[in-house]
Amino acid sequence: MKKSFKFHVFIRICLVAFGIIFANRMLAQYFLVDQLRDRTHREMGAGLVNCHTYVDNQIDFLHCFNAREKGNITNNIADFYVLCDKPSAVTLPGAEQSCSNFQKQTAWWGQELKEEADPRIDYANGVIDGVRWQGVRFKADPQGPQIWLSDDHIGDLMVQMWTLRDRNLIYVLPTIITLLAALMFYIIYIALRPIAMLERTLAQLTARNLDQSTQLVAPFKEFENVTQVFEDLRVRLSQSFTKARRFASDASHELRTPLTILRGNAEQLMADLPVGSDVQVRMRSMSDEIERLIEITEKLLLLSRADANSIVEELSDVHVSRLLEELIKDALSFHSKLKITGDIQPGIVWRCDKTLVNQMIHNLYVNAVNYNLPNGWIHMVLKRVEGGFELTIENPTPEAPSDLAERAFDRFYRGDASHTRRVDGLGLGLSICLEIAKLHHSTLSLAVTSQHTVLAKLSAPFERL
């Protein structure tokens, strides 16, 4: 089953949306770490300047720093700052060791910040035991107070930020997807509308009105090329149908005229010959061959008219049940060696071309006779199905070719039945049946069953589609 275009577009848009969100996060993470590090650096510098201006001892400096820097971006990790000023004034666990380590790293100082930096502050950046640290101090007072912070804690800050972002996303994403879906359906509707309009117009185009050029109008400028392509196609098709129709009509005239002369003269001659004479018998045989020739010509002309789409049905209500009952009754007297049975549901009436349908049913029957076993059988079933009826004609077959179901309706195709009996015919019967079925909006199929029988099945609707 083909998937829906809307569903297809929806899935694609969802994938793209998720891709954008993911890419956004990856890029943000990549660029934000550096940015955050610089900003933290700067704020550390700002805190240092502020507090150093007002206090002159370590404890007050710490209090000042913690108190004044509340509310800025580094607030959440304020507890992790390491303050180094006087060795006696260490406030945090492990800071003593850290401060002595930091004080050894004179090469770390002189770090340039990407964001605007305070010219009075000196910035440091370096790694101890795999942990990156950053520090600030006064340029004018290298021995004065220093503030240090590890990247790990900036990482913690990042995690907190992303948690906050993700929490937002949980509420925002469904809204985004809903809006996207609505937008998508609207865009699809807008995009498909001209195609639907074209489709409606094209659906009205049949073999019978192909020669009318005004039907195909582009709904928008952008579709003019598409409609032009269809228009060209219609013109080519129309020309081809016209040629085929002309051929069928010309062939009909050119073939029927000599056949009329042949038949007329043969019948005349036969009437003139002595009754029962050998010459008359031979003339009758010739006349029968002329009849055969007429029959073949009629078949070929019918097929060529079907190709040209120029068959016009003569519709009437045909009692299909009665037609088949009659056929079975006649068949019993025609073919005494075959067991002919039927399961005919009575009262099935079909609005169709009686002559053509009669021909189709006879062709199917003759096929069942010709490709049967010497003492075989034929079983016909006619039954009502929803909205129509189904006719099946089944017969055993000596040796069905493997490609029978596919090729049976090909013109001039004949299943090899030479092992059983001589089969008369051209191999046109089934292709004619198929054309007649198509003309009546019906389907005709042929299948070889596992029980070595051939099953011809006609499914026809009562109502014309």
Binding site: T257, R263, V281, D288, E291, R305, V312, F334, S336
Partner: protein
Amino acid sequence: MKILLIEDEAKIAEFVIKGLQQAGYEVDHVGDGASGLALILENQHDLVILDVMLPKLNGFDLLRQLRQDGNLMPVIILSAKVDLPDRLLGFEIGADDYLPKPFFVEELIARIRAVMNRKVPEQVQHMSSHHLTLDVVNRKAQWHEVSAILSQREFSLLAYLMRSPGHIYSRQQILKHVWEINFDPETNVVDVCVRRIKRKLSRNSNEHSSPIESVRGVGYRLKVEDAA
């Protein structure tokens, strides 16, 4: 009765003329539409047999012109155009009958009779020929003093042979018209049916054998009695 045949194909005209003359009609023949129209307007004919594809003036146009002028001359169209729209067009513009090619002269004669009687064959209640009468409504046949009710097939067969008494119809032709089948069933169903008719119509009568005559190897025909 005088018939005008307008047909450009000389060979068709030849056997049609011969057949019609044998049936007792007087026939004039022209090969193009314009001369045909001129002859019709002279009003010397009782019926026109008209081909469609004619030089100078197309058969349909000729007929249209004729009817527009109020001429009600009976016209039977003979045409290789057998499609429904062509046939409908023919009747629409005023043809009395439309016979597609190839045709049997016997059928043409039967249709001429029907047109001249202003009745289509199906509406005729009785058909009779040489002491044989068929009652279409009751499917009853009367041959001299013997009468019998026939089955549908027997009746159709006899009616078919009655179209042209004396003409020999082959088994194939009978099968096609009576049983409506286009294939050879390889059985003697026609012979069986003919035998049944013969038996029914000669049960009590020895002096008049059956109306159907078998011509060995050729087919069957309706007997034309000299006395008739």
